[in-house]
Symmetry: C2
Subunit: 188 residues, 2 copies
DNA sequence: GTCTATACGAAGATAGAC
DNA sequence: GTCTATCTTCGTATAGAC
């Protein structure tokens, strides 16, 4: 594990808990026990570069989790995706949520970062839409269904943080499952 | 309009756009054109007090909007609630979202504020659950349905900010309407 | 690559005049 | 109630040694 990578992982953690505003150089150093002298060696662009690269890292990692989760179709996929959030919420004592959403809600510091957030989320949605279409849902129906799924899961993660329980996420997954059971053609 | 109230409205605006971290004394003064010398006169608790009171004000205002929206039942209510968000999003050029969610996602500065956020959201949920029950939904079913509605609408507001369109919110309301059409006993 | 020290700026808060 | 000036703290960034 390189110092550079440790710093980025610290950046992702801070994004999860407090959004872009929470990613300060001091906070990363305190959390990762990395040397202050290395910050501008690894990141000549300073704090802004750390935020940007942490966001990229988080976006790619979650995209991979989504794609993996969807291997057995959209219904099982959403449940696995929710299980990933459950783990994040519980291991962080409900302090951490979605790092990408946190940047969106906290207001991106600049347009480049805002655009990056939009691109990442659109990519997640595209995976979900493709999975729905592969399961037999029409392209037209897949669009609002994928939006509904992403909005409700991301919203539920936030409600889990406020209630300090995983109940909202479980409820939403159950409702989504019921909804998709009607819409997605069943096999067997 | 008193100076004190102007400052709080500025605080609510900043909460919407950037969460608690965005509510700085300087930002409020720049936005509301109120005198710097009045800050600690009206708010001896300083910045923390402004954030806390702004959150209260926002929570109460949105609770009132929810209760009003639900006057003709849950289905019409969710549509009216979404229309409120549409107005906020469009008039702010998609820069503003839900101030209470923004505090939750950005990490509340202290436990008192975190507890306040939880209380506010639980109150919104209670209104929605009561409306569902009044429409004939069982108390058991009303809980996850209200969670689903709140999570998906709040999530959609965030997606609207990233896409800079109201499409996610419209899609979610349509899906919720279809879902409730199945669950809520129809009259007539 | 990493260290210490320091410059610089932003923001919260206070003091005392009016 | 509002003013200006000032103090302090914190966070970013740089300089120069090792």
């Amino acid at each position: 594990m390189t110092t550079r990578h440790k710093m980025l992982l610290g950046g992702v953690e801070l994004l999860r808990e407090r959004g872009a505003a929470g990613v300060t150089v001091d906070a990363i150093l305190a959390r990762t026990a990395t040397p202050r002298g290395s910050v501008y060696h690894h990141f000549p662009g300073g704090r802004g570069q750390i935020i940007s690269e942490s966001l990229d890292l988080a976006g790619d990692a979650i995209a991979a989790i989504i794609d993996d989760s969807l291997a057995d179709g959209p219904v099982a996929g959403l449940r696995r995706f929710a299980a990933f959030w459950t783990q994040i919420l519980q291991t962080s004592d409900f302090k951490a949520g979605c790092p990408v959403i946190a940047v969106a809600v906290g207001g991106a510091p600049d347009d480049e970062l805002a655009h990056k957030v939009a691109t990442i989320i659109e990519r997640w949605q595209a995976s979900l839409r493709a999975s729905l279409v592969a399961a037999g849902v029409s392209e037209q129906r897949a669009v609002p269904l994928a939006t509904m799924a992403m909005a409700s899961i991301e919203g539920a993660v936030i409600l889990c943080r406020t209630t300090r329980t995983i109940t909202p996420l479980n409820d939403v997954v159950d409702e989504l499952t019921a909804m998709l059971a009607i819409v997605v053609p069943q096999r067997g």
